[in-house]
């Protein structure tokens, strides 16, 4: 059966440590923008940890919300691309084909989650960081869009390996860089079509919601959350 890749983000487990962000940068050859450019809104993080504050002093609460590409089934970014650079793969990924992209940035505007990033300049790494580039991932040039791929290089490598060994992929055999590095196991990646997988089991949890699900984008990322914060019990 075809795979359908999905993720679960357990907001009750996320500590906001941002290890996922660092791991993603390292895995996917994402350059750091630097202080000046970041201040101008040019920072690129395929996954980011959003922070929202609730309540006032003396009982403020901070809530963390990791946001990455939701790999929507009905992705608003896909139909708007005039050159098919944002393309829906048979495995349900919203892929970005870098060498087809001419940089209209329409996909980024259409994306309600703001998880698509534009290369305003050619990428540069402070020495010696250029030596740690991942050879399995393209370095993106100026003028094109990029986004979370669900570590498609890892998916492909695992699929090829399984095929070579003439066996089915096992749940947990591989995972994305962000999920791998999450110390509190707040991110769980896997095949939603495999009903025994952890991600399929957690996705149907009654704690589950979709981010901006009301827009009808049908995300393949599910957020788990117990409910609203109870300040009294935590205070």
């Amino acid at each position: 059966m075809a795979h359908k890749w999905g993720m679960v983000v357990d907001l009750d487990r996320c500590t906001g440590c941002e290890a996922c962000v660092v791991a993603c940068h390292a895995e996917n050859n994402i350059p750091t923008a630097g202080e000046d450019q970041a201040a101008r809104g040019r920072a690129k993080h395929w996954i980011r940890v959003e922070r929202y504050w609730e309540g006032d002093f003396p009982n403020p609460r901070v809530r963390f919300q990791p946001v990455l590409c939701q790999q929507c089934d009905e992705a608003p970014c896909e139909p708007v691309c005039p050159t098919y650079a944002s393309y829906h793969t048979p495995e349900g990924l919203n892929s970005q084909v870098y060498n087809r992209c001419i940089g209209t940035r329409f996909c980024a505007n259409a994306c309600p989650y703001n998880v698509r990033f534009f290369n305003f300049y050619n990428p540069e790494w402070d020495k010696p960081l250029q030596l740690q580039l991942n050879p399995d991932v393209s370095v993106r040039s100026v003028g094109i869009m990029e986004k979370c791929t669900f570590c498609v290089q890892r998916i492909k490598a695992a699929e090829i390996q399984a095929e070579a060994e003439k066996r089915e992929l096992k749940d947990g055999e591989f995972t994305t860089a962000c999920a791998q590095s999450c110390p509190s196991k707040a991110l769980i990646f896997g095949d939603l079509n495999d009903s025994t997988s952890e991600v399929a089991r957690l996705s149907s949890s009654n704690r589950g919601t979709k981010l901006l699900g009301e827009l009808g984008t049908k995300p393949n990322v599910t957020y788990l959350e117990r409910g609203t914060w109870d300040n009294a019990s935590h205070g």
Partner: protein
């Protein structure tokens, strides 16, 4: 009102053969603005589009504002000229050529801007469906692909629409010139001899083009609006956008036409041709469009407010109360509060009055497009990813250069083509039994009926 055909020919051909020092100064200023833009674009190509003020999440700003602005201005020629031709409004005769020229040049500018704004301009030809080694056609689901076809159709159509009624005038220039100029105009005149058969065919062709260009113009600005309306972005995803954009485009187009006519009248000494009646009639059209614009804006805002959806209200309040409030209310003043009294009171509906109102409308409509593009992108859904936008000098220069390009093309056009259709003015004389008319009875506004 010129008395004779000879007088008309002499007056209207004069700018082609004589130019003042002021003309060359204007050409120099326009050229330097255009060159500054070319230099800024070169710098942007060399450094990366990061030299613009765009960021995440504001991926479109001045670029698309100017694109929509110029495509909007282009509705001056087609709609005004085609509708006036189709309704046989005789006062149109001195107006159509300057309107149609505005159309061609502003569509051209509008078409160039997206080519400069994309991340890899050297690959822009991938928008064209051609059998390539990549085996990929454009994505016909994308409003940008619709844009490509709509704008290229419009550019072709409006160029034809401008060219057809110019053929007899090219022949007129051919007949009075010598040397290289004669050779060039002989080609442009396409062998025009003025035989009855040629006149009849020209009339038919012009009529067909006038009918065809109206739906093309309406579809172009509708499709431009769909660049926004087809996305789930708050305050963009609205069914009112198509007609709202078309009305706004005609509004800004008439304003640009009045401004251009006021300048032509002054600098080419066309006082006898572009007379107060023309400004008054166009002023009335501008007044109608101003009221229509207000109605659309009001309807759009009121439905958003009653809908009260939180993401839309974030954008809504941002534009009318918070950061963008000064721009928003300037827009309302420029598009409605200033022009309506000027244009509604007969005593104020003079050449100066309509020109002032038009200048306000051009500014106001630019602001309208900016206020559609930027506040929505800044405030899309997840508040953590909200951003702010400030243009850089590169974007300012490119914008100034688009105005420079318009001015340059228009100035050069006035040097090579009579800005007022000579033969149509002569037809105006003939329509009164060939008797030289001193009292401008024929150019009484058709809208008011005979007086």
């Amino acid at each position: 009102m010129p008395a004779t055909a000879e007088q008309i020919e002499q007056d209207l051909l004069r700018p082609l053969f004589q130019s003042s020092g002021k003309y060359w100064i204007a050409v120099a200023i326009a050229t330097s603005l255009l060159l500054a833009g070319v230099a800024a674009f070169g710098y942007q190509l060399y450094s990366g589009i990061g030299v613009w003020g765009l960021n995440s999440p504001v991926f479109w700003a001045f670029d698309i504002t100017n694109f929509v602005f110029w495509i909007g201005i282009s509705h001056a020629g087609t709609l005004i000229s085609a509708i006036l031709r189709l309704t046989n409004a005789t006062w149109r005769r001195p107006v159509t050529r300057c309107a149609e020229a505005i159309t061609v040049f502003s569509v051209l500018i509008g078409a160039i801007i997206p080519l400069c704004h994309i991340g890899r301009p050297w690959l822009a030809y991938w928008m064209i469906p051609y059998p390539s080694e990549r085996h990929i056609w454009p994505n016909f689901r994308s409003p940008l692909a619709w844009d490509f076809f709509a704008i290229s159709t419009y550019l072709t159509g409006s160029t034809t629409f401008l060219y057809l009624p110019t053929i007899p005038d090219f022949a007129a220039v051919r007949d009075v010139s010598t040397g290289l100029r004669k050779k060039i105009y002989r080609v442009l005149a396409l062998g025009w001899q003025g035989t009855p058969r040629q006149w009849q065919r020209l009339e038919v062709a012009m009529h067909i083009m006038a009918v065809v260009i109206v739906p093309v113009a309406v579809s172009v600005h509708t499709i431009v609006s769909w660049d926004f309306a087809m996305t789930p972005v708050p305050m963009w995803h609205s069914s009112i956008f198509g007609p709202y954009f078309v009305a706004g485009a005609i509004f800004s187009g008439i304003a640009a036409l009045i401004l251009a006519m006021a300048l032509l009248r002054k600098f080419l000494h066309l006082e006898q041709y572009l007379r107060p009646i023309h400004f008054e009639n166009l002023g009335k059209l501008l007044l109608t469009m101003s009221l229509l614009w207000f109605y659309f804006t009001f309807a759009e805002r009121l439905t958003a407010w009653y809908g009260n959806s939180p993401p839309e209200m974030a954008v809504f309040w941002e534009s009318i109360r918070k950061n963008f409030a000064p721009l928003f209310w300037t827009m309302v003043v420029c598009n409605f509060i200033i022009p309506v009294p000027i244009l509604a009171i007969k005593r104020l509906r003079t050449i100066t009055g309509t020109a002032i109102a038009s200048a306000c409308v051009v500014v106001g409509m630019w602001l309208e497009r900016f206020l559609i593009v930027v506040p929505a992108l800044e405030h899309k859904f997840l508040p953590y990813s909200w951003g702010t936008y400030r243009p850089t000098w590169v974007e300012d220069t490119l914008m100034a250069s688009s105005f420079g390009m318009m001015a340059l093309l228009y100035l050069l056009f006035s040097k090579f083509v009579p800005m007022i259709s000579i033969w149509e003015m002569k037809v105006g004389l003939q329509s009164h039994g060939g008797v030289p008319v001193v009292v401008p009875a024929e150019s009484r506004p058709v809208l008011e009926g005979p007086q």
